[in-house]
Symmetry: C2
Subunit: 525 residues, 2 copies
């Protein structure tokens, strides 16, 4: 495995500041010495990326699509080595990582299809009106163009699907932007294996050097230097509120401010309505015990907040949820730091006024860094006066808020900050009784579910993974699904250009056969 | 004329802090006492707007379209009084204001058509795949929803088309967002007349009170209070870099940051290529003398920077431009303050190292606040080392930068900040010789012209009026054309909802007959 910083097509030689990955299930170091980049590496990567941007932008869409498919193929071809290294670096189980590998290659192939089809550029043509009075109207045509070098921060909780060749990288490369990945220090070996696959794919398709680079850092210096570098045009990040808002502030204070697409977490409220609880408390308890503990609760869509009104059904649900949790074993968290934070924060929550435990999972003492699943409960009146209880606990923890009546339940909802998701669990009779409450749910979240758990984010056209602040830094964009490509582009209008000088997407006769809005009509002609 | 602050359907009674409009052509006060709002007014307007938002969002698209058309009709029905008051308050000529009134009603009707057609919500449907392995895929559907109360700052330079019922208001109301206008203090009477037309239209269609309000302020307090109010969701602004960045900072420092769409000006570079100058110096000089002085140069797309290489054609062009300017009379600027700034800043520019005058227009001493057109010239080498020369001079001033050779011309371009527009003036032979320079032009601007002047922004689907910072605060959006509606919405996904609970836009059978992306295929079925 090549462990050096990869700048364009060159691995840099080892220098000081080495670090190793840690197996969280044992606490032991893993083989492979990685090296924190320096500011000269940041400069080199961005200089190459800027030059590559001017060329890569004009690479034809078939080649871009083939590049993305070659990356997917390269990742698959790494074989068991990749899954094994990712298991060792993250403590995640084999089946999950095999699934995540499939999602990662699926995302690359999905963006390849999107780019090859081509309509995503939103081409618009308003033909000239030479006879318009009092003055002729010129020909004006618009489409989306790539903005330039993108810095992607690898996420700890998706070592493949939101890391080196994850959704951010795939969508940025699809848009026509070079990518520099700041590797997450928890899984450098996984990152190195994937980076080599991207490098080989770029070389195979003779893309300009600098279309892709990766830099390692087990601290914060390189991330900061990347965000502040004048040639960086866009930043993507998945992680904590503290990390995301720090990057956002740096980006806003630049001479030329740039967008940071930060996904910063969410408690993903679930509203459990009375008739549903009464009629299917057991099924709902099983479903949520499983969703809360999936992947050791380390998902941005983890249901961290359940909200219900007091009822006999709720009492039965609490009992069933406690029973279901008792059957679930603890699992290894991604890093010792994450595990330490989980233990500390969940203990703090349980010590808050009025909070009591509904149920717990079993603690496995054979492995290190175990997260014990916990569901606690608190009254709505205590919740409403205690801001601490609204914070996210990253891990398999969820808080049930019990309201005395509907108005109080609505108060709890009104009191919440922006969310990635919000879910309703309801029977048909609930849907009639709580119509206005249910209708209002879209105002707090980017994705709203009915009788579905929020975990399991589908990768498709209709996905919105991004909600009002502080769930994400910009609720108008998504980081999952085809829409993710729109984060890396801006529209440009061409006025009065001759046909041969226009991009193919905007030429007369529609040589690329894409959907276009021509004189106010959608057309493939 | 009702001169009170309009909060929902109520005019507030007169209080202290009165002010009057000034006729810039005489410097005299105009009739009508206006009153600066207070913080209680801001609170009332936003409380009403928030309540209205929850209802107005669900008003059917036919009613929203009828509302916009009624506003347009109401503005037309004010008749001569509106144009006369606007002339008195702005010093702009009658024909310009009649034209601007047409543009304003045209924009309202354009958004009415857009909303009534309905496809702008970008509906996407991915049907369920119940048999997918290892788990069924749920039904997921996405569309754009309005975000909530919008604060619109009226612009001084478009008293109708970018003021009370201008493009920002029309597009926000079309998107389904209530609007609160902070009136520009230079044209309060024009604003009051238009506000009454909007109020009447809202009442006619029985829209919720608070869908529209206006507040007056001849200082900065109310604008600041509006941007900082927790119920404000979006801000639009057209004006200076200083004003725009101040609002941006306030918005970013809120507990919940919000977007500010600020259009902050631009020098709109024009690249004059040698063969074109040689073959048609007279025509180009006439065209640009007229574009530079149009509306006393008070347009965001005013061509403030001409760039050319030294040649015999350039010498002939300079002479012709000087001659053309000498035939143009000065005109009244919008306010005494703008005129004072223009005189001071243009004088400062002329005093800079290496700057000399090519030509001037005639100063009309019969009227107050006159802007004398000026075109100056400077060498590229002087320009490159003097940041002062890159600043915008708001008014009929333009600077010609003379490069010694192509590389230096490219250096001048690379040295520029983000621009609303960039223009190329070229003959066919130039297009071949300077191909790479011309291709690169899209990286600095939102709209690029070939042999067209940048002034005269067409209102249509293909228009992009928004460029890289600092031309606008967010180059991904436009403030002119149908795309402007996208500033006021965010996408939401509905997962696993039954058909009757979905918005009509997303229902099976496509009851609204809009364009939708269904299982990856565009369809009106």
């Amino acid at each position: 495995m090549e462990t050096g910083n990869l700048i364009g097509y060159q691995y840099k030689e080892a220098r000081g500041n080495g670090f190793r990955a840690i197996d969280p299930s044992t606490g032991n170091q893993l083989p492979g010495d990685f090296y924190t980049a320096d500011s000269a590496d940041v400069d080199s990567a961005l200089n190459l990326a800027e030059k590559a941007a001017a060329i890569y932008r004009y690479v034809d869409k078939k080649t871009k699509a083939a590049f993305l498919r070659s990356i997917a193929e390269g990742i698959t071809n790494i074989g068991d080595e990749l899954v094994e290294r990712a298991m060792a670096e993250t403590g995640l189980p084999q089946a999950r990582l095999q699934g995540e590998r499939g999602r990662t290659t699926g995302q690359l192939n999905m963006f390849a299809d999107l780019v090859e089809e081509g309509s995503w550029v939103e081409a618009v043509i308003d033909n000239a009106l030479p006879d318009r009075q009092p003055a002729a109207r010129p020909d004006i045509r618009k489409m989306l163009i790539p903005v330039g070098p993108v810095v992607v921060f690898g996420a700890s909780n998706f070592p493949l699907a939101f890391s080196v060749a994850g959704g951010d990288t795939a969508s940025a490369l699809a848009a026509g932007c070079p990518v520099i990945v700041k590797v997450h220090p928890a899984h450098p070996g996984t990152s190195a294996l994937v980076a080599e696959a991207i490098k080989k794919a770029a070389q195979k398709h003779e893309l300009p050097e600098g279309v892709f680079s990766i830099l390692y850092d087990n601290g914060y210096t390189i991330g900061e230097a990347l965000v502040k570098h004048p040639k960086t045009k866009i930043v993507t990040f998945t992680g904590s509120f503290k990390g995301g808002t720090a990057l956002l502030k740096m980006a806003q204070q630049r001479d030329q401010p740039i967008p940071v697409f930060a996904e910063m977490g969410s408690v993903n409220p679930v509203i459990l309505l009375p008739d549903a609880l009464e009629s299917r408390y057991n099924q709902i308890a099983e479903q949520y015990a499983s969703s809360i503990t999936l992947g050791a609760g380390q998902f941005c869509t983890n249901p961290g907040l359940l909200i219900a009104m007091k009822s006999s059904g709720l009492e039965k649900f609490k009992k069933a949820l406690g029973d279901a949790l008792a059957k679930i074993n603890s699992s290894t968290m991604l890093t010792p730091g994450i595990c330490k934070n989980y233990s500390a924060l969940s203990a703090e929550m349980l010590a808050e006024q009025g909070v009591s435990i509904i149920g717990k999972g079993n603690l496995n003492n054979d492995k290190a860094n175990q997260a014990q699943p916990i569901v606690a409960t608190v009254s709505a009146s205590s919740f409403l006066v205690n801001p601490k209880l609204k914070e996210e606990v990253f891990g398999p923890y969820s808080l049930l808020v019990e309201a005395d009546f509907e108005v109080q339940l609505q108060q709890v909802l009104d009191d919440l900050q922006g969310q990635l998701t919000a879910s309703i669990v309801a029977d048909d009779t609930d849907l009639v009784k709580y119509k206005s409450l249910i209708q209002g749910i879209t105002s707090i979240a980017g994705r709203v579910m009915l009788n579905n758990v929020p975990t399991g984010v589908e990768v498709l056209q209709a996905m919105q993974h991004g909600g009002p602040f502080p769930a994400t830094s910009d609720s108008r964009f998504t980081s999952v699904g085809t829409g993710a490509i729109k984060r890396f582009v801006r529209p440009v209008s061409w006025q009065n250009w001759s046909n041969d000088l226009l991009p193919d997407e905007l030429k007369n006769g529609n040589p690329l056969k894409i959907w276009r809005l021509v004189d106010n009509k959608m057309s493939k002609e």
